[in-house]
Subunit: 472 residues, 2 copies
């Protein structure tokens, strides 16, 4: 027995002589009492029609297929000839027998046609992804990875990445971290799913959140069986609340930093009640105006869960995030993940570890920080000049600004922008359904989102839309 | 304002003059009324002690840090001098001021010291991962990826990968697939989590499984709220069962293929009851002896969910799998995933798409198939010669063999092997707790697991352990 069966027979997936059970659309067509040649013709035709043999695919020689299937060579040659005559296959000297190009009806992934301009918040400039440096890190990671890295992984994540992250987070974000407290995850959403499950298993029933925040995060907590309760300025969580989800360095979407007094209040609350603070440090690397805002976690590493992500500093498509946890909680999160790392690619983790250790991450963040700061300055200047009635805030850091609008104008501005091909978001959609707040009209402007080439026209469209509504 | 604040201030994370709230271990040390120099010394010392400034880290020049912090240069120089004197920093001409090497107590990831030999099933030969070809595919993927690929992704997975997979699965596994039915996931376990959630939401309460199977899969179903019911040979699922989980091409761990008659029975059951068949095609690419076993899914694409994975054909560490689903179920699985692809790296998906489209996947599978078949042949030959009382089965395909042992000897063989530094598994641990089966002593031998270099000694140890118990 040669390997040709495995190679060609399996690849063609012809089941001559075993048929009878095969349905009409899948498997090989059943041929029952029909001759071997007719069966082969039907099977090949079916394979081409169904798309299992793509146009241009080279078939094995008749001699080879005959040997593989244990039938006469002439039978195969005759079947090929019949299919060539029928337009299913082509036979050309030197190029062998191939599947003919046919208009097979196969659904293509629909092309995504977005609007012309976008200032949707939540995304870095995807055109800025450091492809070359990332490839270099991947090369290094592939060269240095131990064989076991390709196996089923430790649910804590790759030790190389956890070690590098602990050093980086201590240095850059003031996080009290050692690799034993770090658990990698597939981005913040995945981390929040895990934390939600752990909190629920601890008996927690409610989590306090900002009155303005991401509905997707509230939904993830609700999926875990946790109620979310909006926490007003100066309020402390009520007795039923076991944790607070916050974005202290740059609150999302309102854009301010949590004041030092408020930080201390929350830490005291956590210490006194045994509650936990979940710190979503989604864009902590991007701060422009000197006033440093370190991670809340440094104040009380045993009560604060630090959550970081590569989604803003690099790209959401990498799906890499990290949690720095109190040791007891780390064990519970690992248990919630299951016996192995079911989600995160070891290679991507090793690549990120190389990317950070080599200094590429710092370089990239520094470059993007300059780029985003420039955009922020241009945004502020353009608005001051062309839409003076709109007040910008939340711009000391991060990738978005908040633009306060005259009362009642938010929906009209969004409509006007959409009419001009610009999508962006208003503050209203971030409001917690149970929040007790006075109405506040504002835009949440993700100024990192457009590629450089689209930045100036996007800004023009924004200003024009604002003028049309607000100056009217 | 220059960028140096952001660069050095943020990187060092010194919060001079903002202190008072910072706790002892995180953030910068509070300095309150103490002088600026003392505060700087304390902050730097704390940063070194806590590991936030790693040994060897180069500090900014005193001039630069002074400018960044807005304090006198001499103050910084004095603080540096004090810390050099105390052994915290080193200062050398030309090399600047650096953090001294100190025995910081930072837990290292413990080195994993496994047993000397392993025949644990469930893993391919990790040393066979095609690093060079994978890097080439990654390079191509990085060069060709549209910018949007780096953003938040479609929960169905990257369209490039789904298109390539549909073609591959049709050709190689007889799967009736089009990209619209394909949903990518982070390996089979993740796919099973999603399917479990969907089944539970459809009101299913129990899933039939083989009497021997993976406990981790049963646990994942239990986590989703689904009871697992062992299904004996020839039995059909009872009225409360909404789905059957099976490994038709190469049953795990028993190693046989599901007979054609049984396949037809299950498909008829599914059609008659509206049940679903979950086909775990974990090692379908590896079949050695000519008898082709196509995917069950081809028989009824509207009742069979095909689940494939790169974990055996490439590596578990990639965390890439795929589901081919009836269209209605595809929508439900996508909904269960959430509004975005929260788990899988877009780059890894694009790399795998390139890897398959370029022919590297076929080449790799062909090469590994030869390698594994050779090992299988060597295993069978060695056992026939050196442990003739043990009968091998399940070796027509896949990465493991089942070795029947004389009644009652399984635990002793496992102990004997462990004493000789060889880990492997017996059949007992795969048995469903509720299975009604006569006792069956056997080993499940993952012959793909060892690297080539360890293969011969591993085989020797296995035979020696068998002889010691079975021939005794």
């Amino acid at each position: 027995m040669t390997d040709s069966w495995a190679t060609f027979g399996a690849d063609l997936h012809l089941e001559l002589g075993t048929g009878g059970q095969a349905g009409e659309r899948g498997g090989a067509a059943p041929h029952g009492v029909r001759g071997v040649r007719a069966g082969l013709v039907a099977a090949l035709r079916e394979a081409v029609r169904g798309g299992r043999l793509a146009a241009g695919t080279r078939l094995p020689s008749s001699r080879q297929l005959a040997a593989d299937l244990g039938i006469a060579r002439n039978t195969v040659a005759d079947a090929y000839a019949e299919l060539v005559a029928g337009g299913w296959l082509t036979a050309r000297q030197g190029s062998g027998t191939r599947v003919a190009a046919r208009p097979v009806t196969r659904p293509r992934a629909p092309e995504r046609r977005g609007p012309a301009y976008s200032l949707m918040p939540g995304s870095p400039d995807l055109a800025g992804f450091p492809r070359r440096a990332w490839l270099a890190a991947a090369r290094q990671a592939l060269a240095e990875a131990p064989h076991e890295a390709f196996g089923y992984g430790d649910p804590r994540g790759r030790p190389e990445l956890r070690t590098v992250l602990a050093e980086y987070l201590a240095r850059a974000r003031g996080v009290y971290a050692d690799p034993g407290r770090v658990v990698t995850c597939a981005g913040f959403a995945h981390g929040l799913m895990l934390l939600g499950r752990v909190l629920r298993e601890r008996g927690v029933r409610a989590v306090a959140v900002d009155p303005y925040g991401l509905d997707v995060h509230r939904d993830l907590l609700a999926d875990a069986g946790l109620e979310t309760v909006p926490l007003g300025a100066g309020e402390l969580p009520g007795p039923g609340v076991g944790a607070v989800l916050a974005t202290p360095a740059h609150r999302f979407p309102t854009g301010d930093a949590l004041p030092a007094r408020r930080r201390a209040e929350l830490v005291r609350w956590a210490g006194a009640t045994g509650g936990l603070l979940l710190e979503d440090d989604y864009d902590g690397e991007f701060r422009y105006d000197g006033q440093l805002v370190g991670a809340l976690q440094g104040l009380d590493p045993d009560r604060v869960v630090y959550c970081g992500t590569a989604s803003k500093s690099l790209a959401p498509g990498l799906r890499i995030g990290w949690l720095v946890l109190p040791p007891a909680l780390a064990d519970e999160v690992v248990a919630a993940k299951g016996g192995s790392d079911w989600t995160s690619s070891a290679l991507e983790q090793l690549t990120l570890a190389q990317f950070i250790a080599s200094g590429s991450y710092d370089r990239h963040v520094r470059g993007m920080r300059l780029r985003y700061r420039r955009r922020r300055d241009q945004l502020v200047a353009a608005l001051a000049e062309r839409a003076p009635r709109a007040r910008v805030s939340g711009v000391a850091a991060g990738l978005h600004a908040v633009l306060e609008l005259p009362a009642g104008t938010e929906p009209a501005v969004l409509r006007e922008a959409a009419d001009r091909g610009l999508v962006l978001e208003g503050l209203a959609r971030y409001r917690h359904p149970a929040a007790a707040l006075p109405p506040r009209d504002a835009l949440v402007i993700g100024y990192a989102t457009p590629p450089d080439s689209a930045w100036t026209p996007t800004l023009d469209v924004l200003c024009a839309a604002l003028r049309a509504v607000v100056a009217a």
